[in-house]
Structures are given as structure tokens and as C-alpha cells.
């Protein structure tokens, strides 16, 4: 009933459960990172797929974190959801940063000058000249 929910013991249990839930993505993220690491430095179909998943999945999870934590919401507002939620997002952010690092090792990040300059048109000459044998 409603009285049982107000019990401090039940509250602490609930908080523990929420923190456990917040730490649950570690396994998932670790597995994704391992998969990305194993897919190698070259741009192939597997490495592209795993990197793409590694980029998109954390972002989607962070965006849906609000909804994921809603089932733990306390109608009386006594449980602080923001802390666990921040940890949840931080773990996923770690996964995202790993994917970005993977992109960099594959050479897909524009960190070299040739990435910005490779279609630089040659400058237009201000003078015009023509001629030949005469």
C-alpha cells in the first residue's frame, strides 16, 4: 500500500536499485567499445557499422534517459533522480567519446590540413598573356 512506500528502508532500497540501474550500461558500453577496438583501423563494412552504432547508441540512450528513469519516479518527489541519471549519461558519454576516438584512428576526423584544403582551386592570375612563334 501507500504506507509501505514512505518507509525509509524501502526508500533506501529503491535508491540502491536506481543507482544499480544507472550503472547497468557499463557492460553494454564495454562490449561496444571492445567490438569497435577489434574492428581495426581500416574503413570496412564491419568497422563502419560498429563505429556508427557506437556513435548513435549512446546519443539515443542519453536522449531517452529521461523516459528510462521515469518508471523510478517517486510521486512524492523524495528520491533524487538527477544523480543516477547523470552517471547514466556519463557512462554513455564515455562510450561516445571512445567512438569518436575510433573515428580519429580510422582517419575520418578532419584533423589534417589536407582535409580542408584538398579542393582548394588554384588562384586566378591577375594578368593575361598569350603568344607563340612568330
Amino acid at each position: 500500500g501507500g504506507a509501505a512506500k514512505d518507509h525509509p528502508e524501502a526508500l533506501k532500497q529503491k535508491e540502491a536499485k536506481i543507482w544499480a540501474f544507472a550503472q547497468s550500461p557499463v557492460k553494454n558500453v564495454a562490449m561496444m567499445s571492445f567490438m569497435m577496438w577489434m574492428s581495426g583501423n581500416t574503413v570496412h563494412i564491419f568497422s563502419m557499422m560498429s563505429t556508427f552504432t557506437g556513435l548513435v547508441q549512446p546519443l539515443v540512450a542519453i536522449a531517452n534517459s529521461d523516459q528510462a528513469f521515469r518508471r523510478f519516479a517517486d510521486p512524492q518527489g523524495k528520491i533524487n533522480l538527477q544523480g543516477p541519471r547523470a552517471l547514466f549519461c556519463l557512462i554513455h558519454l564515455g562510450g561516445f567519446l571512445f567512438a569518436v576516438w575510433k573515428l580519429a584512428t580510422m582517419g575520418l576526423l578532419p584533423t589534417y590540413v589536407s582535409d580542408w584544403v584538398s579542393s582548394l582551386p588554384p588562384p586566378r592570375p591577375l594578368q593575361y598573356s598569350a603568344g607563340g612563334e612568330a
Partner: protein, 857 residues
């Protein structure tokens, strides 16, 4: 022909029966035939060759040591009397010398025979003497001679007629000499003399032609412009005149002094073909006319039986134009309305042709069907820009419009502008109006002719008020859309714009401070600019002169093509850094040859100049090398070929110019990102007055075949890889990928960065890959030059190889990355997609029902 081609044509249709190319750098001196074989004296009188009359096989060859210009006489028994320099020899039918004799001071020789004796007429210009010598046929000994004195005899205007000889002196009087009798020289003042086989044709100062023989005047032609034939039936002389109203033919019998036959061809006018240059009378009252437009036509009984446009063997300038959008109202995508039954019939005939069991009429019908439905041969513009109209201009002034699908002549126009420049005059981007081309002549009394590019009609003609030395394109357009041309007269230091209207002059005056032009002389390059105009004439001001060192002067030069686009300035290296190319359209590559005074060994100096300031950008010397040097210059690289005396092979060197200052300074990604995001990269300019420090990379290679670089493939935006087109001595076009000619090719073991950049390890021999011969084993006779043009697709471009023959092909140096193959099956693609969609739906249904079943369990 003048280009060293000996060919046998069939008189019925003018088709070539056989053709032999002589050494095309040394054309022939004389030709005669002896029934079974054709004998040619070539290479400046050194080589005598006999070709079988049936199939052109070389039967024998005879060499004169130290020969010089000479002539030939065919005897009725098949033997040949040849003169070369001061030697006269008789060669029998197997190429063995029967006798030889020396006639000192034999110049301007002519050989005749009469009554079983051979006569040699000779003109000595130094002594002003005309002499005729009788030689015995058996042993070549001189049996008789006669001579006459003239007054400054003219070279090339002499000949012998039987036992008499005639020569023209510069005053116009004719000098005659005769063996064993008194010579009767024609009376009068004449400008030209030509000896035919039975009479002498003399042209007087008003252009009238008259025939004379040893006894007096035979006939005189009324009107001007008659040309007399040097050969003909015995005792008869033929002549032709081509005028605006048509061609007229006359055959005169010398003995009877009367016209034997006459005819006319009203359809063959001098407006289409120019006046007659030469004529040859054949038995049967037929005349072979060589016109001023280099066309060959055979006339008989009032009409030309066939016309051969031989000006196509002397193409000097090429322009690629787009075809009209519609022809007679039909659009390019309209398929010819063919009934299904006919298509099925053609497919069956095709199947039979593949097996090899098609009849001759089936093959002809199939060929005609292919012509009607082929995409290559339609006379309209297509989306990819694969169908083009090639405007070619010959040295004699005849312009043709050729369709690139099969080379057929769409139009031809006689412009009478010799050695003219061909330039695009107006062009319409919306392809609604026909483009116009301008043909501008040079020299005194130069004319400019403007033609409609699609139909070849003359739309305008104007005389230029200058003695034109150079015609240069300008990057300006006048209000009517015409591309301006600059006509320069160096002697008068004057230049005019074409069109010579006030708007054009004002447009040029506005930018004249940035317009420069140059002239390459024998040992120096001189640069000029324009001054303020006075009454439409721009004074030519000398700006700079760069003297090049070399005792033999300039042996080769190349300038980058203005319309050839460079896609990017950056060359990405293996470690992701960037080298900035130095692309300067105002530069010039010049090679000079110098023979060392002490050891007599020649060396080649290659120089790159900036043509706005005359500044030497780079210079490199190749020791123990000899010219001539052929070079191609594109973007920022130059590929040039010379003869290496050290290795006795053809050597090819490549130079690449890079901007060293930018390469050192501008390597920061953050700065480049900032500039790119701000949009500050699009309107960069460069000036020839502030040249950055340059880094030039160079490398040399050995070319495996005797050839020279003629051109480079081009593309619409410059993204596609480039092939350097090498023309071999045989006439094949070999495509050499530019990646082989890369100065950065690693000489040691290639590092990871070199592999990343896909650089091939250096090897001094350039590879010879059989499938890169673009001519597929059919050599282009007398290959002289190559013209390339982009199409509307980036991957593909056009290539025309020009020589005595013409060859056209489409090249895709990076394989056709932007179009599907012609036989791509769209149906298979659609079926596959439909099948996958159906399979997806079916499996989705199955999965759902399975899921439901499992939930119920």
C-alpha cells in the same frame, strides 16, 4: 603527295587501291611509271624505289651516294633513267644499274626521249646557260650537245621537249636550244613556263596561256586561269580551267594545231574548290584535277565522276563544337519509328552475322539499320556531350565540319585563307543559336572569314588592315558575345582587335594594362604589352627580352593551355600534409641546345619563364643530350622528350612546380578550417609580379619506343587522371599514365607514406602496356598532332589524332566512374528490388505469425 605518300587510286571510284608512306620527313622528288611498276625518287634524290603497280610491294631499291635533287624518265621497255645531282644512270627492271655517267654542272635537270635517244636538259643558273645533251641509251655516253645563253634564267621554269630544251629568263624571254638543229624559241614576253609531254605551255603577264612546240605556236586559250597537263595521250595536250561558273576542259592536238575535244563540268566551281592547281589528262578524255583546296577530282563528259577531299590529310587546326540541339525538328531522344517486325528481322540477321552465315544484302541492311539507330551517329547534341562536330581547317584554307561518330563530312567550305588561325567566335550556352567560328589569315592582305559552325556557310568576311604576324585570343567578349581576337603586326608595332568596332576597342582599352603577349625567336623570347589606342590601332610596346643561351637556339617550347582546368592547388602527400602546386597559366617552357665549343658534345637546357615579366623561374641543363625537344605543359608540370647521347635512347624528363612558401607555411589544419568555414578560399588571386619561392621536382625516364609527347587528355573540371599521349614513329598513339611520370616516385624502398600516396617505385624504363595503344594496332599514317577536348561528363574526353589519316576515339583515363556501362541491365536491377521487397513482406508476415504462435504457447 607533298607529305611523302605514294598511292594508287582506282579511276572508277577514286578509292585507294594501295598506299605506301615514304619517309615523311623527306618528301619525294619525282615519280614515273613503267607499266608494271611505279618508280619514285625520294629523300632528296638519294633513294630510288620501285613499287609493284598491283599491290604496292617494294620490288627494289637503289641508292645514289651523295645524291641531290633529280628527276626520272620511264623508258617504254620498263627501264628507268634517273638523274640525281650530276649523276645520270639507267636502272633496269630488277634494280641493277645498267650504266651511269657523270654530267658535271647538271642542275635543274629534265629528261626526255625522242627517237630512241635520251636527252638531258640542264640550266646552269651561275653561268646563265641552257644546255641539252644527247645520251646514248646503250651505255650512257654523251653523243651530242647544244647550248644557248640566256639572261638571268629563272629556276624551275625550264624543261625539255624531245630534242629541244626551253628555259625562261627573268625578263620574260624564252631561250631555246636544240640538238642537231636550229632551235626556235617562242616569241613574246612570258611569266611562266611549263613543259608538257608534247608542247610547252607559256603564261603571259595577263594570265593567258598558249601552247608552243619546236616549230611555233600551236594554240592559245581564251581567258585566264588555264592549267596545262604534263601527261596525256601521245601528241595531245589537255588543259582545264575552273571558274565560278564551272570547270572547262580542252584537249588540243599538237600536230593539227586544233582542239580535239572539249567539255565542261558546270557543277564543279571555284567557289567550292578554288581554282585548278594542276591537271593530268588521262586516256579517254578524262581529266584528273588537283584544285587549290587540295581536292582531287576526275572529270569526264561533263561531270565529275568522283571527288576526293585530300585537304583532310593536311589538317592544321581543330575545334570541337557541340552539335545542334534539333535537326529538322526532331529531338535526339526520338527513336526512329521502327515496326516490331523489322526489329525482329534485324535481330535474326544479327544472329546470323555472328555465326557467319549472313548474306551480303543482310549485311548491308544491318549496316544501314545500325546507322539509323546508333546513338553515335545521330547529328544532334546528346546529354553526355559524346557527339561532337569537329571543325578542321587545312593548310590550304578548306574548312570541314566532321561528325565524330564516323568522320563523315557534314559540311565543307573553301575559304582561301592559307595557314589560318581557327578560333571560336561566338558560342551560345543555351545551344539555341549556332556557334560561329573565325578563320583568320596571316601576312600581307590577311582576311578574316566567319563561318556558321553547324552549316559551314560564310556569314561574314572582312579584310584586316594589317600585315598580321600573330593572332591571339583575348579573354574578353564584346556586347554581341563575340570572343575578341588580337591581330598583331610586329613590323609596324601595331595591333588591332577583331571585331574592329568601338565597343571591342573600349573593352580592350579597359584591361590593356593586364594584357601581355610574347614572341619566341631563334635565341630569345620577347614580351610586349599594349599602349593607348589611336584611332583603333593599339601600339605594341616592347617590355622585356630574355636571351636564351645555346648555340643552336630554341629547339622546343610549350605553353600551358588556358582552357585546361586545374581542379585543385593542393597535392595531398602520404602523411596527410599538402604541397601547393604553382599553377601559372602565364608561363612558358623553352628548351635550347648548345654545342660545346671544346668537345663538340651538345647539351639541352630546359627553362621555365614567366611570360608577363620574362623572369626565369627555373633552369636545368641536361648534358650529352640533343634536340629536337617536344614538350607538353599542363597545370604545373612539363613532360619533355629529347635524345640522350649517353644512353642512345629517347629520354623523357618531367618537371613539377610547387609553391615552396605556401608548402612550408600553410600546414595548420586549424587555420585552414577557419579559412574554409569563412568562405575565404574561393576568390584567391595570384600575380606574376610577385612570384613566391618555388620548389621544382624533376625526374628523367627512358621511353621504350621511338616517339614524342603530342598531347595530354583533358576533362571538364580536371578531376580525372591524365594520360600523356605519345605519338610513335610508326603512327600509333600510346597513352602513358601521368602516374608513371611522377618525380616523387621513391628511388629506394617505398615507405608507408609512399604506399599511402600510391607512388610506384622508380624504374628508369617507362612501361609499355600493349592495351594502352589507343590506335589498336591501326597506325595513323604520318601522325603529326593530337587534339583533345572534354565532354560534358567528367570521366570521358575526346581525342582526335591528325596526320595523313584521322583517328578519333573517346578516352576515359579513370575508367568511366560517372556513368553506367552501355549493357547495364536495368531490368535485372528492378527485378532484384521487387523480389527483395516481396521477400521482405512475406518473411515479415511469417515472423509475425510465428511470434503470435509462440506467445500463445
Amino acid at each position: 603527295t607533298d607529305q611523302g605518300v605514294v598511292a594508287m587510286l582506282s579511276p572508277e571510284d577514286g578509292e585507294v587501291v594501295w598506299r605506301r608512306m615514304l619517309d615523311w620527313e623527306a618528301p619525294f622528288d619525282a615519280l614515273t611509271e613503267t607499266g608494271e611498276r611505279v618508280v619514285v625518287l625520294s629523300r632528296g634524290g638519294e633513294t630510288l624505289r620501285a613499287f609493284s603497280a598491283e599491290d604496292g610491294k617494294v620490288e627494289w631499291e637503289f641508292n645514289f651516294e651523295g645524291g641531290s635533287a633529280g628527276t626520272l624518265l620511264g623508258m617504254p621497255d620498263g627501264r628507268v633513267v634517273a638523274s640525281s645531282g650530276s649523276h645520270v644512270a639507267m636502272i633496269d627492271t630488277s634494280g641493277n644499274e645498267v650504266w651511269a655517267s657523270e654530267l658535271p654542272s647538271l642542275q635543274q635537270a629534265s629528261l626526255c626521249q625522242e627517237g630512241g635517244k635520251v636527252y638531258v636538259a640542264s640550266v646552269s643558273l651561275a653561268k646563265d646557260t641552257l644546255s641539252i645533251t644527247e645520251i646514248s641509251v646503250e651505255d650512257g655516253s654523251v653523243t651530242n650537245s647544244a647550248s644557248a645563253k640566256g639572261s638571268s634564267l629563272v629556276a624551275g621554269q625550264s624543261g625539255c621537249l624531245g630534242a629541244s630544251a626551253f628555259a625562261l629568263s627573268s625578263g620574260g624571254a624564252v631561250v631555246a636550244a636544240r640538238v642537231g638543229g636550229e632551235a626556235r624559241a617562242p616569241v613574246g614576253v612570258f611569266d611562266e613556263l611549263q613543259v608538257s609531254h608534247s608542247a610547252v605551255a607559256l603564261t603571259d603577264s595577263s594570265g593567258g596561256v598558249s601552247l608552243w612546240d619546236g616549230r611555233g605556236k600551236v594554240h592559245s586559250f581564251d581567258g585566264k586561269g588555264w592549267v596545262v597537263s604534263p601527261i596525256g595521250p601521245p601528241g595531245q595536250v589537255g588543259a582545264v580551267r575552273v571558274a565560278d561558273s564551272g570547270a572547262e576542259f580542252v584537249t588540243v592536238d599538237v600536230a593539227k594545231k586544233a582542239v580535239v575535244s572539249s567539255g565542261s563540268s558546270p557543277g564543279f566551281t571555284s567557289h567550292d574548290h578554288g581554282a585548278a592547281a594542276r591537271v593530268f589528262t588521262l586516256p579517254g578524255a578524262r581529266h584528273l584535277v588537283v584544285s587549290r583546296d587540295d581536292s582531287l577530282s576526275l572529270h569526264s563528259e561533263g561531270h565529275p565522276e568522283w571527288v576526293r577531299e585530300e585537304a583532310l590529310a593536311d589538317v592544321q587546326k581543330v575545334l570541337f563544337l557541340d552539335l545542334p540541339k534539333t535537326v529538322d525538328g526532331s529531338l535526339p531522344d526520338d527513336e526512329a519509328d521502327l515496326p516490331l517486325s523489322e526489329r525482329l528481322q534485324m535481330e535474326m540477321a544479327r544472329l546470323r552475322q555472328v555465326i557467319g552465315m549472313a548474306t551480303a544484302e543482310e549485311e548491308a541492311a544491318l549496316k544501314e539499320y545500325r546507322q539509323r539507330t546508333s546513338a553515335n551517329l545521330k547529328p544532334m547534341l546528346d546529354q553526355a556531350g559524346f557527339r561532337k562536330l569537329l571543325v578542321v581547317l587545312s593548310g590550304s584554307g578548306k574548312a570541314f565540319g566532321l561528325h565524330n561518330g564516323d568522320g563523315r563530312i557534314l559540311w565543307s567550305t573553301w575559304t582561301a585563307v592559307e595557314d589560318g588561325e581557327l578560333a571560336l567566335w561566338t558560342s551560345d550556352i543555351s545551344v539555341a543559336a549556332a556557334p560561329m567560328v573565325a578563320i583568320v589569315g596571316r601576312g600581307e592582305g590577311a582576311r578574316a572569314v566567319f563561318l556558321d559552325g553547324h552549316h559551314g556557310t560564310k556569314t561574314d568576311e572582312s579584310a584586316l588592315a594589317l600585315k598580321v604576324d600573330q593572332v591571339l585570343p583575348l579573354p574578353l567578349q564584346d556586347p554581341s558575345g563575340a570572343h575578341l581576337l588580337l591581330c598583331i603586326d610586329y613590323a609596324a608595332s601595331a595591333a588591332r582587335v577583331l571585331p574592329d568596332a568601338t565597343e571591342a576597342q573600349e573593352a580592350l582599352q579597359a584591361v590593356k594594362d593586364t594584357v601581355f603577349f610574347y614572341r619566341i625567336g631563334q635565341d630569345a623570347v620577347q614580351g610586349y604589352t599594349l599602349g593607348a589606342p589611336q584611332k583603333g590601332v593599339f601600339p605594341v610596346l616592347e617590355l622585356w627580352k630574355t636571351t636564351l643561351h645555346g648555340s643552336n637556339g630554341v629547339v622546343g617550347h610549350a605553353a600551358p593551355l588556358r582552357e585546361d582546368p586545374t581542379f585543385t592547388q593542393a597535392r595531398v602527400l602520404g602523411d596527410r600534409s599538402v604541397m601547393y602546386r604553382y599553377v601559372n597559366p602565364n608561363s612558358l617552357f623553352v628548351a635550347t641546345e648548345d654545342v660545346g665549343a671544346k668537345d663538340g658534345v651538345s647539351s639541352i637546357t630546359a627553362q621555365v619563364l614567366d611570360t608577363v615579366t620574362g623572369r626565369m623561374l627555373y633552369r636545368v641543363e641536361h648534358a650529352e643530350a640533343a634536340g629536337p625537344v617536344e614538350a607538353v605543359f599542363r597545370e604545373n608540370w612539363i613532360v619533355y622528350k629529347y635524345w640522350s647521347l649517353r644512353t642512345h635512347r629517347t629520354q623523357v624528363s618531367v618537371l613539377e612546380l610547387y609553391d615552396d612558401h605556401a608548402t612550408r607555411k600553410d600546414q595548420s589544419a586549424a587555420e585552414a578550417a577557419a579559412k574554409y568555414l569563412q568562405g575565404a578560399t574561393s576568390n584567391l588571386t595570384m600575380s606574376s609580379f610577385s612570384v613566391p619561392s618555388l620548389r621544382v621536382a624533376g625526374q628523367s625516364f627512358l621511353l621504350g619506343l621511338p616517339g614524342r609527347p603530342l598531347g595530354v587528355t583533358t576533362s571538364r573540371s580536371g578531376i580525372t587522371a591524365r594520360w600523356v599521349l605519345v605519338g610513335t614513329a610508326e603512327g600509333q598513339v600510346y597513352a602513358l599514365d601521368k602516374r608513371f611520370l611522377d618525380p616523387r616516385r621513391p628511388t629506394g624502398k617505398p615507405t608507408k607514406e609512399d604506399k599511402e600516396e600510391r607512388l610506384m617505385p622508380y624504374s628508369e624504363n617507362l612501361p609499355l602496356i600493349p592495351h594502352m595503344f589507343l590506335t589498336y594496332g591501326k597506325p595513323v599514317g604520318g601522325l603529326r598532332a593530337v587534339a583533345t577536348a572534354p565532354s560534358r561528363l567528367e570521366s570521358t574526353s575526346h581525342l582526335l589524332a591528325v596526320g595523313v589519316d584521322l583517328m578519333y576515339t573517346r578516352v576515359a583515363p579513370s575508367k568511366s566512374f560517372d556513368r553506367l556501362e552501355d549493357d547495364f541491365s536495368h531490368i535485372l536491377l528492378i527485378l532484384t528490388m521487387l523480389g527483395l521487397a516481396a521477400g521482405t513482406m512475406v518473411l515479415y508476415r511469417l515472423a509475425k505469425t510465428d511470434d503470435l504462435k509462440r506467445k500463445w504457447e
